[in-house]
Symmetry: C2
Subunit: 446 residues, 2 copies
């Protein structure tokens, strides 16, 4: 474990560029500790740090870093030994790094690879970004259904050093079509003379072109240590191991959370991301939302006379639209998560409208009664009536709209998290204001 | 795979309570398909469905369900064969189910367990809720450092049927203190006469009282198939397997997302949750936020004269506080996620204030310039100046507050997601309004 005092000393040595001090501090560091420290540094410090690492630690440290951070090291700065490290990477990790690199650097690095590794990388790079084909491992131990258990175990023994997974093993026919999977546990338990086919289970699998997140979620839901990946003709092309599935899910959840919060996900750890990158990840969203919010200015302008007659109405504007936004966000968040987990599908739209409308009415009646009582008591019962009725209407509309938006996003092929939360506030704000003033005008007779 | 037509038929049979039709439809269903269908049903339909399942499928289906859904089946309705199913569950899954059951039902079920299973359940239940001790598996294969590899493999062979993990094996001293772990892969690769101690690696581990989410995140980050769990004296008490870690992380992320959206997480799949439960998960938050929002009413009341003099000022209220809320939420979401992933720590508060203040000023200057130009052009340059200056100030305050709130939450031991996002809007709304009117008064001289 790293202690804070040690970290401070490293930071001080980096700041003063004291290489001698730094290299004595880093003499006994492990690759995991080094990568954790690097996740907390700016670009320049990271390069100095990496160059000062003991040589045998540097390669493994590189493997532990996020692809965008690896790319920083490779492209910006001449780091020694990169070619060797690149040669030693898993093909799927290598493909991720290549995605982050400028094209010229990427092609130069691929050209320097050995033929075998270049071929494996080519398989992975042949699939579209965000597909599971990009994230699978093409290095496999392959068994045949007619093999005896003893020779299957011998085959596994041969590949103990290089195969990514030895615990879940795909079984394929002569034409590479996937026949099933066997677990090492079942092989060890069985009689050596039994046929592999008698131990085969029907596999949960994924097609290489499928979205990476869906395949990873399946691996997790079915509690598999690995998922065979096949092409459209059902031929085995790779394997997704659970540790890679975990990383994919963690990225997907980070992405969803960022977008629900109205920003683009960062590609590096927070403290390793330059301030300008953070600004970039947020500014477009903020602008889009601010432009959307000019709708509210226009709505209010329409009702400017009403506002001038009854200034008291303007007091409740933030409270009412805030409550609408909250109700809409609650519904959208719930449905977005249910979509991600596969609990609902776009086809469930009517079920969801019906549920959320009921939820919204109930919430509206609860909040509206309170609003009626409190506002009525303080500002008079006509104002109370306006506030109460507005809350009921806004909550109903907001919950329904909030529940449906993620489904529409999914249907249109847009990330539900993007489509739903950030826009709900804007939409519900404008609609809520119209409802508010229409109710006010009819109740107050102005 | 389930097709939609089949699902419709099942739903129709459930609605009409046609048991004969239903049982012919369910004759060939697999446990996984059954559990997926059950995640989409209300309480009554679920009970009828479960009772109609073929007996051999029912037990496995039960294992696949969420604990709250299991509890519905056990406590509400007399489902046959529950005692056998309960006896066959993993101790950690059993503990989760018990947490969901009314105390009387829970203690009756524990009383009916066999002695061995009752003891294992007791170990798990001895740890606090939300600790990793509750979610670990206490059924272990244990190796000793002085064992020969051949006898270690023989020991594994003996437990192929009952141990939860055979791929990562803890090695303990005489006094049960954890010495290290070995992988089955390394055992298979080694000479049978070698000592286990020569293959041992230093383990990533967790202490049983640690938060379940932290331990699970560690298992994922370090890419381990299993993490040994020790007590405070470093003695081995259980193992966390990666599939359980995955479930814990999925729950934690669902919880974070729900709370960022301002509601409590649901304990059942969305379509299986009664409407009243959904209302309950949201109403408290909505109320708290609405009460918080009365602050804005009070602020506006303070400035009622200003508003009456310049009604045009009220037009920009939703836009300004909306932008403040968005900026704050962006910062809070980023920092909350960084905290969850371990990229930042509460001690980083100054670093974060400094970063977010810079991000906020930059965003504010960008939006403020635009606001100045547009509002100035339409409503006159003095109004433009007010809007521009207000946007700069609000963005700076909102980003800084938004970045710091999750850290304060963490320090106070409150879920950062709870503490941050839902409250930021409220806080930033009120502060933003004060800033707005103070700037307006001084620029416009009213």
């Amino acid at each position: 474990m790293l202690d804070v005092a040690y970290e401070r000393e490293v930071e001080a040595a980096l700041r003063s560029k004291d290489v001698a001090e730094l290299s004595s501090l880093l003499a006994d560091i492990t690759p995991k500790e080094a990568s954790r420290l690097m996740a907390r540094m700016g670009l320049q410090q990271r390069a100095l740090f990496y160059r000062t690492l003991p040589k045998e630690v540097a390669a493994e440290t590189f493997d532990e870093l996020d692809p965008a951070v690896q790319a920083d090291l490779v492209s910006g700065l001449r780091v020694p030994g990169v070619a060797e490290v690149f040669e030693g990477m898993e093909p799927d990790d290598r493909a991720e790094l290549l995605d982050e690199l400028p094209a010229s650097v990427a092609s130069r690095m691929v050209a320097n690879l050995s033929e075998g590794e270049r071929e494996l990388t080519g398989i992975v790079l042949g699939y579209p970004e965000d597909s599971i084909g990009r994230r699978m491992s093409p290095e496999l131990i392959i068994l045949r259904p007619t093999m005896r258990v003893a020779s299957a175990i011998a085959e596994i023994h041969k590949h103990l050093d290089d195969a990514e997974s030895i615990y879940t093993l795909p079984v394929v026919e002569e034409d590479r079509r996937l026949a099933g999977v066997v677990s090492l546990r079942d092989l060890l338990r069985a009689d050596g003379r039994a046929e592999v086919s008698t131990l085969m289970q029907e596999p949960d699998l994924a097609v290489a072109h499928e979205a990476a997140e869906e395949a990873a979620r399946r691996c997790a839901d079915r509690k598999r240590l690995a998922l065979p990946i096949v092409d459209t003709e059902d031929r085995l092309v790779g394997l997704l191991t659970v540790d890679d599935a975990l990383r994919i899910l963690e990225e997907a959840d980070s992405e969803d959370q960022a977008r629900m919060g109205g920003s683009e996900p960062l590609r590096r750890p927070y403290l390793a991301t330059p301030v300008l990158e953070i600004v970039k990840s947020r500014v477009v969203w903020l602008l889009v939302l601010a432009i959307g919010a000019t709708l509210t200015v226009q709505v209010l302008e329409r009702f400017e006379d009403t506002l001038a007659t009854m200034v008291v109405l303007s007091l409740f504007v933030p409270l009412l639209i805030g409550t609408g936004g909250n109700t809409g966000n609650q519904a959208a968040t719930t449905v977005t998560r249910a979509l991600a987990l596969g609990d609902v599908r776009p086809g469930d739209v009517l079920k969801i409208v019906f549920r959320e409308a009921r939820v919204g009415i109930l919430l509206g009646v609860l909040l509206g009664s309170l609003g009626f009582l409190i506002a009525g008591f303080v500002y008079g019962w006509d104002i109370g009536t306006v506030i109460g009725l507005t809350l009921v209407s806004i909550c109903t509309v907001a919950a329904t709209v909030g529940g449906v938006m993620p489904l529409i996003g999914k249907k249109l092929g847009i990330d539900p998290a993007v489509f739903a939360n950030p826009f709900i506030t804007t939409l519900v704000d404008a609609t809520g204001l119209i409802i508010y003033f229409l109710i006010a005008k009819s109740v107050l007779g102005i």
